[in-house]
């Protein structure tokens, strides 16, 4: 191990015992080593699109599975089994001749030394791709961070499911009307796609399942509040989509408050600038920021926590460091402020980078990324969705079928597609969701 590396490590990890430069047990081969941080949409599609002989691939993630985040809200609302929207990260690597996965947490990158430092040791790279995605952003509000529930991982979604169901069970045992209100109400913070989809799914749960499941509860007294800071829901979509989503949610008795700011939450009462709402559960979909790792030059990171990269995906100032997906701000002519933080962007950037890296090691010039916006959509419930395409905006049952098809098609893994399809068919025909289980906390 080079002396300067030892010193560097010693300096930065004085409290903890330093794991040595063990390359995480991976032997160097003749291929250039490509280290990918993160197995989300970007990382996964990059690996799948890579030519098999070009690189030694090392994928690093703190989870051992890919999470299909667009369907997390269905796990949270008892519509889908958790495992059917997750995919083991070791599987796509099986196809490559020189591939490795390590479940470790990256604590730092040292681009000057081509090093990644993790809680399992230190790893050298020839090429580094940062695809760490985004984290929940509480904008510094500590009480909200402590009491609200986020929804970024499968474990978060299961946590929400457990909490919602447990609250209804507890409400049955309580006579005090104030406490009962708190247990029955739900506040969703953030009127973007995730917030809208959560609100719709919880509202349908109350409409179709609760009257049968909880004959002893006054189900109508259970309120769902959706709070949005800006003047309309789905601010990133068309006015038509925003209005239609709002209309759908009102049909499902969701109480919508736009132009409303959440000021605090103590686990029992949500304080907003338009009054207080009693609720034992607040779901926070109010914002994200890039999952930044220590070690990159500070000027590279934007206020929203994204890494500035040029049109070829290369992080500014480095030759062999790239960034894609939610954590990256790839600046192109059409998107000088970077691209929206969507799964479709990450997928396209992953595939694009595979081509670019292959060009690079062959000495060819790097290409520029062009995002093809095929449209955006959100679903509110049964036969209720909104779709914005470039020339065509539509809603209702047709939009809902498009939404179902696109998500089923995009789900990773054939078995997951089949199991999800069966769950959806079952839920559709029976107005039922059989995964309403409180499993573990």
């Amino acid at each position: 191990m080079p002396e300067q590396v030892i010193e560097l490590l010693k300096e930065q990890h004085e409290e903890k015992p330093v794991r040595e430069l063990n390359d995480l047990g991976i032997r160097k081969t003749e291929r250039p080593r490509l280290v990918i941080l993160g197995g989300g949409f970007g990382g996964l599609h990059l690996i799948r699109a890579l030519r098999k002989q070009d690189f030694q691939v090392v994928l690093i993630d703190k989870q051992n599975h890919h999470t299909f985040q667009p369907l997390l809200y269905q796990v949270a609302t008892s519509g889908l089994e958790a495992d059917s929207i997750a995919y083991p990260l070791r599987k796509p690597l099986n196809a490559h001749p020189d591939c490795h996965f390590r479940m470790v947490e990256v604590t730092e990158v040292v681009p000057e030394k081509n090093l990644v430092v993790t809680n399992g040791g230190t790893l050298r790279y020839d090429y580094l791709v940062i695809a760490t995605g985004a984290r929940t952003n509480y904008f510094g509000m500590k009480d909200i961070e402590r009491h609200a529930l986020p929804m970024k991982s499968i474990s978060d979604a299961i946590g929400i499911r457990n909490r919602l169901l447990r609250n209804y069970e507890e409400a049955l045992l309580i006579n005090d009307p104030e406490q009962k209100d708190q247990l029955m109400n739900v506040v969703i913070a953030g009127g973007g796609p995730t917030g809208v989809e959560l609100a719709g799914a919880i509202a349908e749960f109350k409409k179709y399942i609760m009257p049968h499941d909880y004959p002893d509860l006054d189900v109508k007294s259970a309120k769902i509040h959706l709070i949005e800071l800006t003047p309309e829901l789905l601010p990133a979509m068309s006015d038509e989509a925003s209005q239609k989503a709002e209309e759908y949610l009102r049909q499902l008795s969701v109480i919508i408050k736009t132009n409303t700011k959440i000021e605090g939450y103590d686990g029992r009462v949500v304080r907003t600038d338009a009054g207080n709402i009693p609720a034992r559960v607040m779901l926070w979909t109010g914002g994200v920021s890039g999952a930044i790792l220590p070690g990159l030059g500070k000027g590279l990171v934007t206020k929203k926590g994204r890494i500035k990269a040029n049109a070829s995906g290369r992080v500014k100032g480095y030759d062999n460091v790239f960034a894609i997906g939610d954590v990256a701000q790839i600046e192109t002519k059409n998107y000088p402020q970077g691209h929206p933080q969507l799964a479709s962007v990450a997928v396209q950037q992953g595939k694009f980078l595979a081509t670019n890296l292959t060009r690079h090691i062959k000495g060819k010039e790097l290409k520029e990324f062009h995002y093809i916006n095929k449209g955006t959509m959100a679903t509110v419930g049964r036969k209720k969705a909104v779709v914005d395409m470039k020339k065509w905006k539509f809603h209702g049952a047709a939009a809902w079928l498009v939404w179902l098809s696109v998500h089923l098609y995009s789900l990773v893994g054939f078995k997951n597609k089949v199991v999800t399809f069966i769950n959806w068919a079952w839920n559709y025909f029976n107005h039922d969701r059989e995964t309403r289980l409180i499993i573990k906390d």
Copy 2:
């Protein structure tokens, strides 16, 4: 609330604040109230078989779902999604006109007062059915209780899956051969059906999945030990079945140690009277005892923690208290020491008790329970199972198909059957198990 009840509660719960006699928020109707403790096979089949107009039914369980325990081992070994072997307990109650479920923990029964005391309040009954099942029995070995993993609930099974997969991930990062051995080895304590099925499933995981998933690990060095106290595996089955199971497991390289006593476990090394085995994970299937609640007369509980009941299912000494399933020792002419602790016994006792209770409130004489033993079976792996029937014992692919069919048929819930079938078909044709996910701990 009657004064003597208050006093009784005060006496017995001096530390904790006493919840009042709130009947858990359930209003008394004209129907006699039947309280069922436990939504396992016995409780669930009792409810399903009850005539709808006869009773007010109150089901109590600390979980909100039924667990199909015979398939827990497949969840533990990445073969099935957890939710597909669970079933929401509120669903079967939907069909009844006057039915109630409460997710609370029973702390005590007071049969003299027809009362059940729970952590959510106190509940009166007209008829009580104890169907609380069995708990893991460590036979007083505290260190084993602390370090070994049990497998009685879905959360236990997920815990095992997480631990097994996490150990392999960790083994990749470690060079020390002793620690690596500990991480790769698995010890299974108990050679009954659960132990045999676990050993087979883990062995197949190592054979079919690990070589692809962990190219950097020396998979062959990973050992699976199956320890049994008595001279043979599956002691409750025929000699033929025992021998065949042993043969199958040896083919899968499982190290079998019969006539061996486990003496202790510190989380790293299992001590037996035949030597030490390094292993970071020990799965304990070594025994169960009935899940007894405080409050029943002591003479009623056997050494194995089962409640003595007569042939009609009635707990000895009480008129309106019944017991079924693993917790009950229903003594009949053919089974003077009670029945084996099997799902099929609990199912039959549940159905039987529904008939008997209906007879009872109509003033008819109670019937006696007769167990129809349709056979017992265990599976070791692909096309490897053993079946003991009264006149016919067989093994191999035919037995395996019988095992698959019976379990698929017995699974509770149509959607669960379909999803399980798809998982099995997928696993069979692809030698794959896609639920190899570490989700939550």
